[in-house]
């Protein structure tokens, strides 16, 4: 009894914690980017560690810039694809300029003001770089790039940090699963017992997704949707865990990534929708006719809120933990600035202990969120593919039985 009850309690606790973390994170997002000036005068931006960027951060080792790919519309209206080895290269060789936002200027005025400053700064940078090979300050690499005069970037296909880590986790999943499949093809695990830690570990996870997520929700149709559920589960899990690695980034803490994942669930759900499913949305049975037009938009909205909730849940959970860790570490410097370095040293052990706790919590959350996303995807799909047997069916049965009774 206790053994069964504890995970539920944990779940509740995690949910409560993640709601709390979500609030913390929303507070962060509502504010203009949090800048903590450290003693050296460098800016410490709690958000930019979680946010996307176009380089890999190996600090204290040098950063590795990632390739930039742009679909550009030129001055004459033609389109072109431009590739650069790095952002620095794009600025130096492609005459791209950095979009600059002034801190002093309000959020509303930044858009209009950015262009003028960007051209100024861009001109300055290109002039400088033409003269000497000095590296472009990293702070400039984090801004959005603007195409050279006259053109504009239609689509920025650059390999960003989050994309890099998403691909890394895809590569890891692909490598692991194809190796695992190779073992099964050779007969290990098919004709014999599974062998070794590698196979046992991943088989347990696969069996978990199949037996505890797919089958209870989807029943005999689980085989059709199992590949998607497994892919989503392992991709999310690997991405989440990569974010906990040193120098790593969490691809799933990017809303774009989670939105795409949710879109997959959305499309699969709608494609699997049965007649009953659409009937329940557009003409809900078992309620008075005059209520049906009111319910219809609500039901229609419900189709979209489910995947949106999926995307935001995963994004918020994966972002929140990182932000809390960064904030806890940031506390050390805030205290040092406010009350002197002694206070900073005094707070450090507490901050580090809490950060460690949150880190462990994140480890747990990584698994839980992968589970929750997959579980809810399976649930939504099962709701769409179900053949309902509700009042309207009973009414139908009754009407069909009546003639029989009369006869």
């Amino acid at each position: 009894m206790n053994g069964r009850k504890t995970p539920v309690d944990y779940n509740m606790m995690i949910k409560k914690a993640s709601i709390f973390l979500l609030f913390v994170q929303l507070a962060f997002m509502a504010m203009p980017p949090v800048v903590v000036a450290s003693e050296e005068g460098e800016d410490f931006d709690a958000l930019h560690h979680s946010a996307n960027a176009y380089y890999l951060d190996f600090s204290p080792f040098p950063k590795v810039e990632l390739p930039r790919i742009f679909v550009v519309q030129y001055e004459d209206g033609s389109y072109g694809l431009e590739l650069f080895r790095s952002t620095t290269s794009a600025i130096r060789n492609g005459h791209y300029t950095v979009e600059v936002l002034h801190e002093e200027s309000g959020a509303d005025s930044t858009a209009t003001e950015s262009h003028s400053t960007a051209t100024e700064l861009g001109a300055a940078t290109t002039d400088e770089t033409l003269d000497d090979d000095a590296a472009i300050p990293l702070s400039e690499l984090e801004g959005h790039l603007l195409a050279p005069a006259g053109g504009h970037i239609v689509l920025d296909l650059s390999i960003s940090r989050h994309l890099f880590f998403a691909w890394l986790s895809m590569g890891i999943v692909l490598f692991i699963m194809i190796r695992l499949a190779g073992m099964y093809k050779r007969g290990i695990g098919r004709d014999t017992a599974p062998r070794g830690l590698f196979q046992n570990l991943f088989e347990t996870l696969i069996m978990f997704v199949r037996d505890d997520i797919a089958r209870p929700n989807l029943g005999d149709k689980s085989d059709k949707y199992l590949p998607y559920l497994l892919t989503a589960f392992f991709f999310i899990l690997t991405s989440n865990l990569l974010g906990l690695m040193p120098f790593g980034a969490t691809a799933t803490s990017n809303l774009m990534v989670t939105v795409v994942l949710a879109c997959f669930t959305f499309v699969i759900t709608q494609l699997g929708g049965t007649k009953d499913y659409w009937m329940h949305i557009f003409w809900p049975p078992g309620i008075p006719t005059f209520v049906k037009p009111i319910l219809m938009p609500v039901e229609l909205l419900g189709i979209f809120t489910k995947p949106i909730a999926l995307a935001i849940r995963l994004f918020a959970n994966m972002t929140a933990g990182h932000l809390v860790i960064l904030s806890l570490i940031g506390l050390i410097f805030s205290f040092a600035n406010l009350f002197g370095s002694g206070a900073g040293f005094g707070v450090a052990p507490v901050s580090v202990a809490f950060a460690l706790f949150v880190y462990l919590l994140e480890l747990l959350v990584s698994f839980i969120q992968a589970y929750v996303f997959t579980m809810l995807s399976a649930l939504f799909i099962s709701m769409a593919i179900q053949e309902h047997h509700h009042d309207h069916d009973e009414a139908h049965h009754e009407s069909s039985e009546h003639p029989a009774a009369h006869a």
Binding site: P33, A51, E103, G143, L163, I206, T231, F264
Partner: protein
């Protein structure tokens, strides 16, 4: 001071594009090269285990049945053997008793015939003895009489003698 912090919620069409394509590709590749073989292998193994268990159960039931049959057969065989032994013993006993009875009657017969033979032989012997004695007496008397008496007197004496003899 210039801040370049990227917004967490900023839309990024390029990232959406890449992730959609690559996640789709991942789904396809895994479905084809990983999930297919893995799930089929797992279900094959499950079926094999299921079948093996069913077979083992069946085999166990068969073995139990066989054992029960064997036990029954052995009991029957034992019972049969007991019955045969008992019968044989009875038969032997009967034969023995019969034989003994037969022998006893034979012995009786032999005894009886021997008795009769003895009786007869005794009678014969007595008769021949008597004649022999009579002849001897006659011859002896003849000799005496030839010596002393006439024939009549001698005859009278012999008869007396014979009369005495038969009395004995």
């Amino acid at each position: 001071m210039i801040v370049f912090a990227a917004n967490l919620l900023a839309p990024d069409a390029g990232l959406i594009f890449w992730i959609a394509i690559t996640f789709g590709a991942l789904l396809f590749l895994l479905k084809k090269f990983a999930w297919g073989p893995i799930t089929s292998a797992l279900s094959t193994r499950e079926e094999t285990i299921h079948e093996s268990l069913a077979q083992a159960e069946k085999a166990l039931a068969e073995a139990k049945q066989l054992q029960a049959d064997n036990t029954k057969d052995r009991r029957e065989a034992e019972a049969q053997a007991q019955a045969i032994i008992r019968e044989a013993r009875e038969e032997a006993e009967r034969l023995r008793t019969e034989e003994v009875d037969k022998t006893r009657t034979q012995i009786q017969h032999l005894q009886e015939s021997a008795q009769a033979e003895i009786e007869r032989e005794k009678d014969n012997a007595l008769t021949s003895l008597r004649q022999e004695v009579a002849d001897l007496a006659i011859r002896a008397a003849e000799k005496i009489l030839r010596e002393n008496l006439d024939a009549d007197r001698q005859k009278k004496i012999v008869d007396n003698f014979l009369g005495d003899l038969s009395k004995n």
